[in-house]
């Protein structure tokens, strides 16, 4: 799939952005803080309805637009998917009213008063049903956090990928999170005797049912990534190192949904007293983690920065291949200033790996990252202070 036209209004530092996009490689050159990343972010937000950079959606709205009425930001793209044309559109509106209605898609955690709405060919869609319609894979300097960061980064990563490939996953995650919040409150109420253990039964069942589904999906994704990433990693690292992703499920090693459910339930029973005294749920996919191994050793702790980078890159490339296979059509690749940190050989391998995709958008500070032949086949743009011009 590919984007033929992108139009953004009041998004980050763009008051108005219009760009026609060709297939294959597009390179956007610009100094720091001119709006390169914002352009790729706009496309990524259109795909997953949220930002990979901020949890505050108000940040996405242009700061001058915040002074206007109504306060809004709009993203719109024309998309070619299986030779059909689609118009996809997302509107962010800063709402005057408080987020009081509980029936909305936003969930209780959003707190912010930004309202999102998504349309495909002018028809409104629920965000949880829409995600996955348009696939992108974003590569950024922050990808290394997947390997070195907190378990939360790994879980968000898994959820981001699966929500694009498994319909209904996002809704299960939302439901699970709400169950978790309710259950934790109940545990705290049991602590001071305001509630009884029988009250847990419903929430335990929901926790296990929704949680086990999440674990099954995550395990499946990790298996898929493991079938693709080691080869890519071997190429990137010069063929001497063997990488492996290990899924550390809080519910245990079981792989069938039934086994996961049984283990999950048993662990809940075993830790009941501890859970009540701490007032938190101690087992479940909200406690999952990933471990990245190179030649059998955990690379987040013992690896060099170069090793960590290579592993992260291999995982992202594996993600792109996996999405391609799953959707039957290549996702749009977004590479945000990732070449400057790579050495010559990894740079070459990455460029080689991405050229086979239908559409790739690359941002860079330094055009010297690319060979003349690569540049001659690419569409070139320059961005300065929120203004985009063709080179």
């Amino acid at each position: 799939m590919r984007i033929t036209h992108l139009n953004a209004t009041n998004f980050r530092n763009y008051r108005s952005l219009e760009i026609d996009l060709l297939p294959h490689i597009t390179i956007i050159q610009g100094d720091n803080a001119q709006g390169k990343t914002n352009l790729l972010e706009a496309i990524h937000v259109l795909a997953i309805t949220r930002s990979h950079r901020t949890s505050s959606e108000k940040d996405l709205i242009n700061r001058f637009a915040l002074e206007e009425v109504p306060v809004f930001s709009r993203l719109c793209a024309f998309l070619t998917k299986w030779n059909d044309e689609y118009k996809i559109e997302m509107l962010l509106r800063l709402d005057d009213r408080l987020a009081t209605d509980s029936g909305s898609d936003h969930g209780p955690a959003s707190g912010a008063s930004v309202r999102k709405s998504v349309k495909v060919n002018e028809a409104g869609r629920r965000a949880s049903d829409y995600v996955g319609f348009f696939n992108t894979v974003m590569f950024s300097a922050g990808d290394i956090d997947l390997v070195t960061g907190t378990p939360g980064v790994c879980r968000r990563y898994l959820d981001m990928v699966i929500s694009q490939t498994a319909a209904g996953y996002l809704r299960k995650v939302q439901r699970y999170n709400r169950v978790l919040t309710q259950r934790n409150h109940l545990l705290r109420q049991m602590q001071d005797g305001r509630s009884t253990p029988e009250q847990l039964e419903f929430w335990d069942r929901e926790l296990v049912d929704n949680g086990s589904y999440i674990v099954v999906q995550r395990r499946h994704l990790v298996e898929q990534l493991n079938s693709l990433a080691p080869d890519l990693h071997r190429d990137l690292s010069g063929g001497v190192e063997e990488m492996q992703i290990e899924y550390l499920a809080s519910t245990g090693a079981g792989d069938s949904e039934d086994k996961i459910k049984t283990d999950f339930r048993r662990r809940l029973e075993q830790s009941r007293r501890k859970e009540v005294s701490q007032g938190v749920t101690l087992t479940g996919p909200h406690r999952d983690n990933l471990q990245f191994l190179v030649n059998g050793t955990g690379v987040s702790r013992y690896g060099s920065r170069g090793q960590q980078q290579t592993v992260a890159l291999a995982v992202k490339l594996a993600e792109a291949r996996y999405m391609h296979g799953r959707a039957g059509e290549a996702p749009v690749l977004l590479l945000d200033d990732v070449f400057s940190e790579l050495d010559g050989s990894r740079r070459r391998h990455l460029l080689e790996a991405v050229t086979s995709f239908q559409q790739v958008l690359i941002t860079t500070v330094d055009m010297g990252c690319f060979t003349p032949s690569f540049l001659s086949a690419a569409s070139l743009y320059k961005v300065r202070d929120g203004d985009l011009s063709k080179v």
């Binding site: 309710q182 009250q199 929901e206």
Partner: protein
């Protein structure tokens, strides 16, 4: 006080603040409403104020079904043509209006005034459950329809009540699926509600 409010005359500020507390009314809407009321006639303002006071003074809960009413028992509970062996349990009074609009339901109601939600501090003891159980003591009720909202909290409430009532030998059913998940009963259309009622199943 919210910084969105401009400095303004005290009675104005007070009204804006009160309006802002209402669900769905943000600072800007509150200001708009307050200025509208300022320009409205004296009678209109008084009528609104009296309507609000009357609501608090005259509305009581029906001693039987816990619905809001002016007289207790309420008109539905008093209506001898209604089927007294059937009670439909809802979360809020608004849902009775929705079900009455279908014209197909001829039983009685019971309003819980909420649903189980630990994060909001609402447990079974905060709902009108004891009042419901009291109504089941005389063995005249043969079926309880649990018509809580199709969301997690509604489901938790349904499961709790079903555990409580089934051992009493009373048939416990719930509305057929078909209501969109997460939607409120209050907003369901009549056809959907009628179908949900007719297709009700044993819990």
């Amino acid at each position: 006080m919210n910084s969105d409010f401009l400095p303004t005359a005290k009675p104005m500020a007070r009204l804006i603040e009160e309006l802002h507390r209402l669900p769905g009314v943000g600072p800007k809407s509150a200001q708009r409403l307050a200025y509208h009321l300022l320009s409205a006639s004296e009678e209109q303002a008084r009528a609104l104020a009296e309507a609000i006071v009357a609501l608090k003074e005259k509305i009581i809960l029906c001693s039987s079904c816990q619905n809001i009413t002016e007289t207790t028992p309420c008109s539905i509970c008093q209506d001898q043509r209604r089927d007294r062996s059937l009670i439909c349990v809802v979360e809020r009074p608004m849902e009775i209006l929705a079900l009455e609009r279908t014209r197909g339901y001829k039983g009685l109601y019971h309003v819980l005034h909420g649903a189980i939600s630990p994060m909001d501090g609402v447990g079974p003891e905060d709902l009108k459950v004891r009042e419901l159980l009291a109504r089941l003591q005389d063995n005249k009720v043969h079926e309880i329809i649990l018509a809580t909202n199709p969301n997690l909290e509604g489901e938790a409430t349904t499961m709790y009540l079903q555990r409580l009532i089934t051992p009493m030998g009373i048939r416990v059913t719930r509305l057929a699926r078909g209501l969109p998940f997460g939607s409120d009963l209050e907003y369901a259309d009549e056809v959907t509600l009628t179908r949900a009622l007719e297709g009700r199943q044993e819990v």
